[in-house]
Amino acid sequence: MSLEYGPSGRLESLRNRYHAIVDEMSATLLRTGHTVFIKETGDFSCALVTPQGEVFCAPTRLGMIRIVGMNMATAIAASDPPEEGDIWIANDPWTTGGMSTHLPDVFLWQPVFVDGELLCYVWNFVHVSDIGGRVPGSISPSSVEIFEEGLILPPTRLYKRHEVNEEVLRIVLANTRIPKQTWGDIKAAVAALNIGRRRLIEMVDRYGMEALRSAQEQLLGWAEERAALLIDKIPDGEYRFTDYMEGAGLQGPFGISVALRVSGSKLQLDFSGTSPQVACAYNIPTGGRGPHYYLTTAIVTLLRTWDKNIPYNGGLVRNVSVYLPEGSVVNPRPGAAIGVRAATMHRIYDVVMGCLAQALPGVIPAAGAGQGPVVVVSVPAAEGKDRKVSVVQPLRGGSGGRPHCDGIDGIDITVGSGRNIPTEVLEQEMPLLIHKYGLRPNSAGYGEFRGGLGLELEFEVLCEEAKVACRGLERYRLRPWGLAGGRPGGLGRTIRNRGGDQEIDEGRFDLLSLKRGDRLYFATPGGGGYGDPSRRAESKIRRDLVEERFGDGVGTSERGAGARSEPGRGAGTTPMEDGGSESQPVRVMASFDLGSERMAFDADGGMHD
């Protein structure tokens, strides 16, 4: 037992106090933010950071909660020396060690001093709705360079001694299409930092500087120790998995490969073999060194599934190391386009889960829909001004079947924190008619525990013309894999004027122009199944039939025994021929069903073509 911290309840009390501070910061940001991205989607996060750069407290309720594993040391070094009353701003991935992963994520931080001594930093980010660049909203899958994606801000003082730096502010606001809202969201972030700072100073009054300082390290150590105990439960060895991004435009499928090495309480994620960086916006700038939060989501989810009381801070990933080849999709060189990096994150999640599934049979679910795109429509505004833009619906798919129960219909676990949009609200705001928004029967991978169903969304344009953008459509070609005998999930589809004379398969489009009366139909992927379909309980089969979720004799390949349960090349089933530690056995993996499309793809040379 490494923790020694006074009375038995003191550390828990201080953890509660610190949590109250990040929660209050988040509530302040949510309350005072200006744009829908903040208020409805909650695309922001707040954290408390040690002087060395580790997140020692992160919120678990409000906002995007992945910030936990990010190391801020590079950003801190770039803002040295810390000065009372300074607030720094940055969105540049390369001068912050991958802290910001695309330009709309604007990070702000402020050192907190008490009697001239540095206690810690208050930190947050907001996804601003536009930071310039060649398209409204700043993100386009087809961007080739970061310079198309908007203003790049290396760490810069936005406030100096509590006074706003007007010169910097002018530059920022001159580079966005919506200066007023952008400044509104940034001010909300500043308000959150200030409330956090105030509460920390009050805490020092009560507990004293020394106690609080050492509590930061204790909290990190506590999470580290708990994580170590859990990682110890994963059998030692090396596990490998490869999966693919279908990518944008001409940048055909590119592979994400990982080797997960487990030794005692240590984990390594080695991304050797992952595709070189791509000439579109799917690269993830991770900084190349640490257990970046975009790489460790699956690990953190496993730890939190096993122990929902585990302290939530950067200590969780202290035992995780990474290898990220320079110039790869997961560690691109400066200048790469990165706007749609979240799409790639889904696949990184899948490959790490693929490794964990081999290490922990009976624990890990089959693959979920593995995508989280958002359909955005723009229409001409009245009075011929700017176009009117609105999100139609986030396109979620089903989650993967699980070792003890079916996947969730219509919601993939990785995107479970967002909200959908009421049809009645959307139709009030936009000249669109939604014909269908509901579950997509038969779309999941069958199994003893089937995957969750995908969704169907179909809408009609009621005005002269409309433009539809959708970034990050994936799993249109290669299915979410089934596990332990379960079948792979269904593929996504996009069809214009379905059932009409001029039906067009639009596939993974970037941008579509529709005219009055056109209909666009989306069917999202269903999750992979888990376990041998012949073992599926009679009662579940009947229930699915009665509820018309999964029919009998529908003859889909998802249900039938069409695909062989033999993993394809590159899936990591074969022992490593070189590299890897000799002392560690390479395990033969659990059975994945990757689907016939993937096997054909692999047989055809796969990513190496």
Partner: protein
């Protein structure tokens, strides 16, 4: 004894106890009785409690003038899935409306996350061809033959009630009205509920949910109240029965039957109403309410009036019915303390509940709880808990604490003190973000503590939060029953309006409000009660054109300039900014109606001067790291204007008030204890 009825009885049916509170509205005299709840037949406990009270007070059943009832029956029916089998008919293409909800999982970062199954299974949801546009214009006519086929199919599958929710029916109910008529004509005996009647507002999931719940719990609730009336009649009580609402106020049983969703969270809500009412009387209009019981602590904010929420959670469902904004924290007297694998002490969220309860209850509980810590630290008297009805078992509590202490390397006392510290910090962690969300500035607020454990833990929570004033009402264990008794009859009448600012014609707007007020008036008439006064409050939900966030603005004048100004001011105070050039629209008109019931007189002070508040003994209790000798008082013997200084303990039937050092407490003329932190 007199024949003129002057008694009011408040009843609150909880999971463990059924509370009944009797008040004489003329003299203000009151009495509280707690009897064990009877889960299989809750009305029996109600009857027993009311009969018991009348007997203890030697009053006749005919003297009861009004019975106010709060209950968790609605939410229990949802949790246990024991409502009326219900079918749902929706617009074609939207069968999964209920299941998809707003698409958020109850837990994230969890492979084993599960969604709450919808109240109506997918096989009991049918689609029909019909469609309105957002403007209310008919795009496709209702397919009547298909509607009847589907309704018959649902009935064949076992539906006893049918809920209808067609898109945009809040704008134009034409298809829902036609469908109701067709079903009623063809399938008599099936209960039909249409969404535009239940909840005439945009957002299909929320409206469908309200409509389904109405159909699902309406019948059980109506049966229950019939039973209550029958039972009360059997002991000679003929007084009208009214039901407490989630948004405060009360309404008749018949109204509750029409709109049962409005009663779902009524129990805790009436406690807050009661606290707000007492706060108003003692010049503490701004209070944070802490209602701490066995399993949870309910927290809410009163700033003049209780804060409302338009998104509440019941049985795992998100509901959009307005309700007093109450956050339940998993921290009560029964919360279990444990040590995690790293040796850190944690408290809750698991609770020992009523059975087996804390170790000190001696019913087989072996895990140490917050209540056991109270006992070990001298806060509770083992022989005087709940008026001596339960004897606390010190040895069991100590044994439980020692098993925990052996793992932390502390003494039983030290670990008990740590449990209290962690429990306080749990409260802090939940409270601060809530208070921030509501823009509460703690310096101007008092903490109003009630529930069985609220007064025990409350002063320490106040210190944790930096709140310097604490209010302990006279009957902390009966606040939910009392709150109903102090409430007026209330309801809200709503109309979808949808007008852009420039289209608003003041005379037309005035007409619409008048019509709503007429409806409100006849509703008040239907309540079967005599009111001292009737009043209305007009308001409108407004927003920037093209946005979906509404805010509710009080309407004084129907002139557009004034409405616009009111909107901007409100937007500024809620969000901290407003765009004065932005175009606005009115979405919904609301009339809130209040039928005021006669005031209840303030009771005589608990003790008169001649009773001289004697401290009847002293007891050692643990405060701030050491044992202190604390004065122990009997609550009923504390005279008006008596000043008590901490450390002190005040014992009463329904709780023990723990006053740490540094606090000065005065008993006011109504018997409330008003405390101030003097450090």
């Amino acid at each position: 004894m007199t024949d003129r009825p002057t008694l009011r009885v408040g009843v609150d049916v909880g999971g463990t106890f059924t509370d009944a509170l009797l008040v004489d509205e003329v003299s203000g005299r009151f009495r509280l009785l707690k009897v064990p709840s009877v889960p299989d037949d809750p009305s029996r406990a109600v009857m027993d409690a009311v009969a018991g009270l009348l007997e203890e007070e030697r009053r006749a059943p005919a003297e009861v003038r009004l019975l106010v009832h709060g209950t968790t029956l609605g939410i229990n029916t949802l949790v246990q899935r024991k409502g009326t089998p219900t079918g749902l008919i929706v617009t074609q293409g939207f069968r999964d409306m209920l299941e998809l909800g707003r698409g958020r999982l109850p837990s994230i970062h969890n492979f084993n996350a599960v969604n709450v199954p919808p109240l109506v299974g997918r096989d009991m949801v049918a689609e029909v061809r019909e469609r309105l546009l957002a403007s209310g214009e008919v795009r496709s006519a209702l397919d009547r033959a298909e509607l009847l086929d589907k309704a018959r199919m649902l009935v064949d599958r076992g539906a006893e009630a049918i809920a209808l929710c067609f898109l945009h029916s809040y704008r134009n109910p034409v298809h829902e009205l036609a469908a109701v008529e067709l079903i009623k004509d063809t399938l008599p005996g099936v209960f039909v509920s249409a969404s535009h009647q239940v909840w005439p507002q945009a957002r299909e999931y929320e409206r469908a949910m309200a409509t389904v719940i109405n159909a699902y719990i309406g019948e059980p609730i109506s049966r229950y109240y019939a039973k209550v009336k029958e039972r009360l009649l059997s002991i000679g009580i003929v007084a009208p029965v009214v039901v407490t609402r989630s948004a405060g106020g009360v309404m008749s049983v018949e109204s509750a039957r029409q709109s049962p969703i409005e009663t779902i969270l009524s129990g805790p809500a009436s406690g807050v109403s009661g606290a707000a009412s007492i706060g108003g009387k003692i010049d503490e209009p701004r209070i944070v309410c802490l209602d701490m019981g066995g399993t949870t602590a309910d927290v809410s904010v009163v700033d003049g009036a209780p804060a409302y929420s338009f998104e509440t959670t019941a049985a795992g469902f998100t509901l959009s019915v307005p309700a007093i904004d109450i956050v339940a924290i998993g921290a009560g007297g029964g919360s279990v303390a444990w040590v995690d694998p790293s040796g850190v002490l944690k408290v809750g969220p698991q609770s020992a509940g009523a059975e087996p309860g804390p170790a000190a209850y001696g019913r087989g509980g072996v895990e140490p709880t917050v209540t056991d810590a109270y006992l070990l630290l001298g806060y509770l008297d083992s022989t005087n808990f709940l008026g001596g009805k339960i004897e606390l078992d010190m040895e069991s509590a100590r044994a439980a604490m020692e098993s925990l202490a052996s793992r932390t390397g502390e003494t039983a006392t030290e670990v008990a003190a740590q449990i209290i510290e962690v429990a306080n910090s749990n409260m802090y962690a939940e409270l601060m973000p809530l208070l921030s969300r509501q823009g509460v500035d703690l310096e101007s607020f008092g903490l109003f503590v009630y529930g069985g454990a609220g007064p025990t833990q409350g002063f320490m929570v106040a210190e944790e939060l930096g709140i310097r004033r604490v209010i302990v009402p006279k009957i902390p264990g009966g606040m939910c029953a009392l709150g109903g008794l102090l409430s007026d009859v209330r309801s809200e009448f709503v109309k979808s309006y949808f007008r852009a600012g420039e289209q608003v014609v003041p005379s037309e707007l005035e007409d619409e409000f008048s019509k709503l007020e007429q409806g409100a008036l006849s509703w008040l008439d239907s309540q079967g009660l005599v009111f001292e006064s009737r009043s209305y409050v007009r308001s409108a939900d407004m927003r920037y054109k093209g946005q979906s966030f509404d805010i509710n603005v009080a309407v004084g004048s129907c002139a557009w300039d004034e409405l616009r100004e009111a909107f901007h001011e409100r937007h500024e105070s809620v969000y901290g900014h407003s765009d004065r050039r932005g175009e606005l629209e009115i979405v919904t008109l609301r009339v809130h109606v209040i039928g005021a019931l006669p005031r209840v007189a303030d009771g005589p002070p608990a003790a008169t001067a001649e009773f001289e508040s004697v401290r009847h003994r002293r007891r050692s209790a643990w405060f701030k790291g050491g044992w202190r000798s604390a004065d122990v008082y009997e609550r009923g013997a504390i005279a008006v204007d008596t000043v008590l200084r901490g450390p002190a303990l005040v014992e009463q039937y329904d709780t023990t008030v723990v006053i740490p050092p540094g606090w000065e407490v005065r008993c006011d003329v109504s018997g409330n204890l008003l405390a101030e932190y003097k450090v």
